[in-house]
Amino acid sequence: MTRTLEATTPKTVNPSRTVATSTSARLRNWGPPLVVFAAIIVVWYAAALYLESLGRTTVLPTPHRIVIDSFLPTDGGRPITTDLLRALWLSTEVALIGLAISIVIGIGWAVLMSQARWIERSLFPYAVFLQCVPILALVPLIGTTLGYSFESRILVCVLISLFPMVSNTLFGLQAVERSQRELFKLQGASRFTVLTKLQFPNAMPAIFAGMRISAGLAVVGAIVGDFFFRRGQPGLGILINNYASRVQTPELFAAIITAAILGVAIFLIFGLIGRLAVGRWYEPAS
């Protein structure tokens, strides 16, 4: 008998193909936003120079002033780079610890809810509640009850960044196709087996998407917490606050830019981690 096969030779995914197209793809991806960035700088200069001509030099410093005054060591003025780096480190630490706690609690909470309808009904409203309550309104309460320490800053981060972890994980765990569930059921698979071999892997893309959102929120939490918890080592938020009250505009911009870079870096890093973890097999619905 002849066997007619649609596939007789092994097909391997050619890695060089992705490399070959990446240069033009990179240009396509990065070109337009870079043009916009250049345009923003141009407008910034125009506005800064215009304000300077009116004699209002403290409102909007030119971009190079920010770089020279704040980021570069100079003979005359004191570079604030050291202060910035120390604050950056502290804020990063707070954000990452807060995020780590959110990830653990969020995933645990979602796994618990995925186990039974009644658990979900009992616990999900509180996840939503957490999302709806303005966390900033709670911050003074946290301060008066728990003090203004490092732990309180972390608690603010956790409260702000928890919800996306809970909701994304739960969504991923529940988004298993019925036939896949039945495939496991036909083999008499236990609840634990279904969770570890089917639901959890299936939820990974959603979990990483949630992680990326939570990471951004954790940075927000770390900086916002600083505005309230002003004791101890200064984080980026305290620096921003100090520079603003002293009208040190170039330094203020430098601190804001550093905070922005921290947010973007954490967002990108978690996007990359997600791609490394699930990009191999995951095909986002297009």
Binding site: M1, R3, L183, K197, N202, R280, E283
Partner: protein, 260 residues
Amino acid sequence: MSTLTLTPTAVSTDVASDPLLDFRNVAMQFPNGTVALSGVDLTVKRGEFVTVVGPSGCGKSTLLRIASGLENASEGTATLATKRIGYVFQDATLLPWRTVQSNVELLAELNGQPKKARAAKARAAIDLVGLSGFEQNLPKELSGGMKMRTSLARSFTLDPELFLFDEPFGALDEITRERLGDELLRIFVEQQFAALFITHSVAEAVYLSTRVVVMSGRPGRIVDTFEVPFEHPRDPDLRFTPEFAKLCGQVSHALREGHS
């Protein structure tokens, strides 16, 4: 041809053995009041390839779900004489994060077979469906037909005595569909399992089966049964013979009668 057989090849006298699947007066009414099946009598023995054709929504899939134990009949009895069932779903139901090899190993893994044994079993099954060389590919790198082959291979790893097919080729193009049908028949001839196959394609039903069962629209009842006289192994060109066309015509006619 692959020399490896996953189940001992049965001799043809086995055909007269006890049914592996026995439906007696099976009816199914869902809690919402919908009657999906009514008064279904059906047996499938080793060496029989029974196909059920019927209009959409006639309860064909419910029939399979009762046979597999995923649902319980609300009336009558459905008796299974084996625990070794292969269930092939409408879609390939592969786990996208697992390679072909690892997907095919899944059922044996869930049954707690040791790693080495299940890996060997999976390789044999992959070879059987003609996917050798693709063991390390991920589902997203496979065509629809290859996904379905992987799904078939997976169901073979448990040495099923009874196969339940829920319109497995429904989503494939006609060429792939006929090819996979040929492949399935080749394996059927080799292994002589029992098969209950759901489809809405009359030609597919007649080509694959030893018996075609025609069901009416809701509630699903069996309106007619046709023994298919063609010898195995079947030539793909059988599809173009007058006898084949005639039988297809009779089945289609019965379908229309049952539908009205």
